[in-house]
Subunit: 341 residues, 2 copies
């Protein structure tokens, strides 16, 4: 249902405040979730609110979401989130990385003791909005099979990169490591549709196009085979091994163990641009690629993040955002549990 | 044919010296090519020697391969290779990045005016050998279709990440953006074999499993669909847009235009490790993943770079490296053209 941006914003912020989050922090998480929702990334938008609140209520997430700086140098910092809200901690960590990049050309902030950080592309987008390039990564609970394995061996570790792109605004690349989210596969099973070959294996590690095998012990496969698996390993290394966070099976599935600190790890980097005509160069590259001959059936060639940016612009123009009815209902339930209204 | 490492090393170095490369630089490029060959990455090993020499002879590559520093700060540098040999320039650029990382925690060196840089994993491996994490990227001449395009719109931009891994030596992730190299597809066409669905499209942008369509104007597809395409855009941005190198169609195919400076761009990053038990953490992660239950048909689960490391170790034990007969013949031809022997 389309709802007013103003209304959903104040509802969301009130929910987090009622769960013990400070007013400024509640605003941060609300803005991140709202932008994510407007960009059409529903899986990481308001849909998550009840999960975060559940963790706050059960003690797995702390309402205080401040960076405790463990190590600090002009271009690097290592911080501990001490179990706070991943989105708020990540926003603050990327702010710190941006500050360092503006002073020294590059800023890296590694964060441990964090939690589910929502849409990785929000944080890299913060860099692009400041005229910088950015990277963001997070590990997570195990969901994806290593190449050759039939077990959930590694997280579906999100990775994002963004750059300012002149008249195109910003290029935002934001991916996870499996071909498809588990949600999409579960939905396909409900609808009795086959899933494409290569998306999942069954519990014995055989290829299957039957999405129902997923909930019987099947596993998500990494995108592009060993190339996606290796990328998941890179993210696990930078976000977790390098920060001191929990790794692979030691990460608590935040929606399965809402009472336990996930100790998720992230990696944030901001870099200034070193050539004076960078925005013009990005424009030229994107213009050329968008103008290339289209393949049979394609109506347009998009740069990374273009589809999402259009959705966001349409919402901002309308002052309205389309939120799934079940998400709105779940938010209403959460409000009730927090005695709001 | 198996040849002695000592012999092939001195032959290769002599070739580069005869083409005007300084003795120390000839040693650098020889070591990089030798290690790449030992690791089984034949496409980027000695096979390339005649191509590089051809470019040196035709003027598209300059024998002098020194970094001209354009910008320099404690954690960043931008350098111009002024048309030198990509491998030698890249080795020097990563050395500089490592130096900066050892002083400030992170070192980024961007390089323009370079050329084909060989195997990206060599440079990140240099970082891992020094106890650091590393990233390396390069753009290249257009070979891969953007998602929705039927043209060669973007380079097959290599990306590598490496980290020290305790008793496992180093983890080296090293990929290009297509499912398969063009060489492999051309070989399949010669053998009359079909290629897997999703690897290429024909000249009209239709999916095809006939590898012969590739040389009729077909195009390589990015691995994992839009995820690989977006990664190619990230590499193009960091390696080229950010360094001032040529971008997309302005990059000269180094083996098609041997008389023209490719003006290829690269991005190198070295980072020190911030937790004291990093090596132990990497070991634990890799041990756990390798021990996970194997899928049907899998004999072992490998970490990125493990297969290559085993090949290299076997060569070093033997003192011999297996070089394709046609590569050895091409090297002999090159020696003849340079009046060696």
């Amino acid at each position: 249902m389309k709802v007013s941006i103003t209304d959903i914003r104040s509802r969301c912020a009130a929910i987090f405040r009622a769960a013990g989050v400070s007013a400024p922090d509640a605003e941060i998480i609300t803005e991140v979730l709202l932008e994510t929702e407007m960009r059409g990334v529903f899986t990481h938008g308001f849909h998550r609110v009840p999960y975060y609140i559940n963790c706050l209520q059960k003690g797995g997430i702390q309402p205080r979401s401040e960076l405790t700086i463990v190590q600090d140098t002009p271009s690097r910092a290592l911080a501990d989130g001490e179990g706070g809200l991943g989105i708020i901690l990540s926003y603050k960590a990327m702010q710190l990385a941006i500050e360092k990049a503006k002073k020294t050309g590059v800023g890296i902030v590694q964060l441990r003791g964090s939690h589910h950080f929502g849409a990785a592309g929000y944080y890299t987008g913060m860099c692009a909005d400041e005229g910088l390039c950015g990277m963001a990564m997070s590990n997570g609970d195990v969901l994806v099979a290593a190449t050759g394995s039939r077990e959930r061996t590694i997280g579906n570790n999100p990775f994002s990169f963004a750059a300012p792109a002149g008249k195109y605004g910003k290029m935002v690349y934001d991916i996870a490591m499996s071909y498809s989210s588990d949600k999409k596969i579960i939905q396909m099973a409900k609808e009795g549709k086959p899933c494409p070959a290569g998306w999942i294996i069954d519990k014995d590690g055989n290829d299957t196009t039957d999405p129902a095998e997923y909930e019987k012990g099947g596993v998500l496969l990494p995108f592009g085979g060993y190339k996606g698996y290796g990328m998941a390993m890179m993210v696990e290394t930078l976000a977790a091994a390098l920060s001191g966070a929990a790794m692979t099976r030691d990460v608590h599935a935040w929606n399965v163990n809402p009472d336990q600190n996930g100790n998720v790890g992230h990696f944030f980097m901001a870099m200034d641009v070193t050539v004076p005509d960078f925005a013009a160069r990005m424009e030229a590259m994107i213009t050329e690629i968008k103008a290339s001959e289209k393949a049979a059936g394609a109506t347009e060639i998009f740069y990374p993040g273009e589809i999402e940016a259009r959705k966001q612009a349409a919402c901002l123009k309308d002052g309205m955002v389309d939120v799934a009815d079940e998400t709105l209902e779940a938010m209403a339930e959460t409000e009730k549990s927090l005695h709001i209204k």
